[in-house]
């Protein structure tokens, strides 16, 4: 149905619709603390009938834009741990290369299946965050490699009003988890913050605020590695990626500067339900196209 509808519209109308949809995705993403990709790819494929590879390519470019825009602020505030980011980018870029190359080889319907699964998982992560506070990992185990690389850091906590030091542990576990996150990102064109943040927060012992900022910082490089592969393969279509990119950035910018983050849990709860619903749609499209 969507595909037939798409052929009846003019290029101008298509551009306007894609732009508005991306604007909404960027706005919603920044309100809920997600990248736009998780929203964007389903809307482009399910509602607008865009080929999933083009949708992923466009989404990757949008992820670079939103990550760079937000990271510029976080880095300035020194929330980002630049050394941890650089170290873990070894794994995320390698993973992104794997994922992006894999996306060119496997059938489109498997992309829908994987996307649906990751989407459902992300919804559950949000749900867990909704229901209970984060459990703080115990005192970090001393780690020789983390010491040698000087990964430890500190950040300025606004609420406590002081500089909070922290120690990093299990860098190799982090590296392994980040390889997985990078692969998912390259395969599906999402920032996969839902995978990166727990890897740093729970496995490596970084404070949640630092994990979020550092994850956001790494998304740009990870997505750039994937986007390179998509570009070389001709899957970055300027007619789709252009309006997507402009819309998402404008939406995310508006969301973060003019609106306060939505804290009301019912809206988040509603979003989790929507996310699960769309995940089922994506799975269905993959199983019976």
């Amino acid at each position: 149905m969507a595909k037939d509808a798409a052929t009846a519209v003019t290029p101008f109308l298509f551009t306007v619709v894609v732009f508005i949809v991306s604007l909404g995705a960027g706005l919603l993403g920044s309100l809920l603390g997600l990248g736009g990709g998780l929203i964007l790819v389903p809307v482009l494929t399910l509602a607008l009938g865009v080929d999933i590879r083009y949708a992923v390519g466009a989404s990757l470019v949008a992820v670079i834009a939103t990550s760079s825009g937000a990271a510029a602020g976080y880095v300035r505030e020194r929330l980002t741990n630049l050394r941890v980011a650089m170290f873990l980018e070894l794994a995320t870029t390698a993973g992104a290369l794997t994922g992006a190359s894999l996306a060119g080889l496997i059938h489109g319907r498997w992309l829908y299946v994987v996307f649906g699964t990751v989407m459902a998982y992300s919804a559950l992560v949000m749900l867990r965050r909704l229901s209970g506070g984060e459990c703080v990992a115990g005192a970090p185990v001393p780690d020789a490699l983390a010491d040698r690389l000087g990964l430890h850091g500190s950040y300025w906590d606004e609420e406590a009003g002081r500089e909070v030091p922290y120690r990093v542990t299990r860098p190799l576990t982090g590296l392994g988890l980040m390889y997985g996150a990078g692969t998912v990102s390259g395969l599906l064109g999402i920032g996969s913050g839902a995978l990166k943040v727990p890897a740093m927060d729970l496995a490596m012992g970084l404070p949640l605020k630092v994990s979020t900022a550092t994850s956001n910082f790494m998304m740009g490089v990870t997505a750039a590695a994937s986007a390179g592969v998509y570009f070389a393969r001709g899957d970055i279509e300027p007619f789709i990626a252009g309006p997507v990119c402009a819309g998402v950035v404008l939406g995310a910018f508006t969301g973060s500067h003019y609106l306060t983050r939505v804290k009301s849990s019912w809206l988040r709860g509603l979003f989790v339900v929507v996310l699960l619903g769309v995940a089922v749609q994506m799975l269905r499209k993959g199983v019976s196209p």
Binding site: T7, R76, E77, G104, R148, A225, F231, G242, V249, L250
Partner: protein
């Protein structure tokens, strides 16, 4: 057709004594200018496309032509040639390439910072990441 977001310095909690121009500030500036430049090119390119093709406002067939595979500038040289001829889509593509290059430049800048600090381990780490990034632009074309 869209308004440029002036990614102005986030009315940031630029707290107290943070006056030294460290690598953080450089990276922050680099990221921000990359996004702004890219969006300018993309917006300009999109406007140019519609200016050159009035039929895009009315013809439904044009969309099919646009979204079928194997069109548009795909290689780096195609993009540059298209920009020379002032083709709208080539400007959009150039903007997207600037965006893709922004994180790569950020890594290159970090390499410079680490080598100036004589941090051998991190020079190696950063150099590897840079190689992986450059590799990514080559692998897709090989298949």
């Amino acid at each position: 057709m869209s308004v440029e977001p002036s990614l102005s310095p986030a009315a940031a909690p630029e707290a107290l004594s943070r006056d030294d121009v460290g690598p953080e500030l450089l990276i922050s500036h680099l990221l921000r200018s990359g996004v702004v430049l890219s969006l300018t090119l993309v917006t300009f390119g999109m406007s140019l496309t519609f200016f050159h093709h009035p039929d895009y406002f009315s013809s439904a067939q044009a969309l099919q032509r646009l979204t079928t595979p194997e069109r548009g500038p795909q290689g780096l040289t195609d993009v540059l040639a298209g920009v020379g001829e002032a083709r709208g889509q080539a400007f959009v593509m150039a903007g997207l390439l600037v965006l893709m290059a922004t994180p790569v430049l950020r890594v290159a800048l970090s390499l410079l910072v680490f080598s100036r600090q004589r941090d051998r381990a991190f020079v190696a780490v950063t150099f590897t990441v840079l190689c992986l990034l450059l590799l990514s632009f080559l692998t897709g074309g090989v298949e």
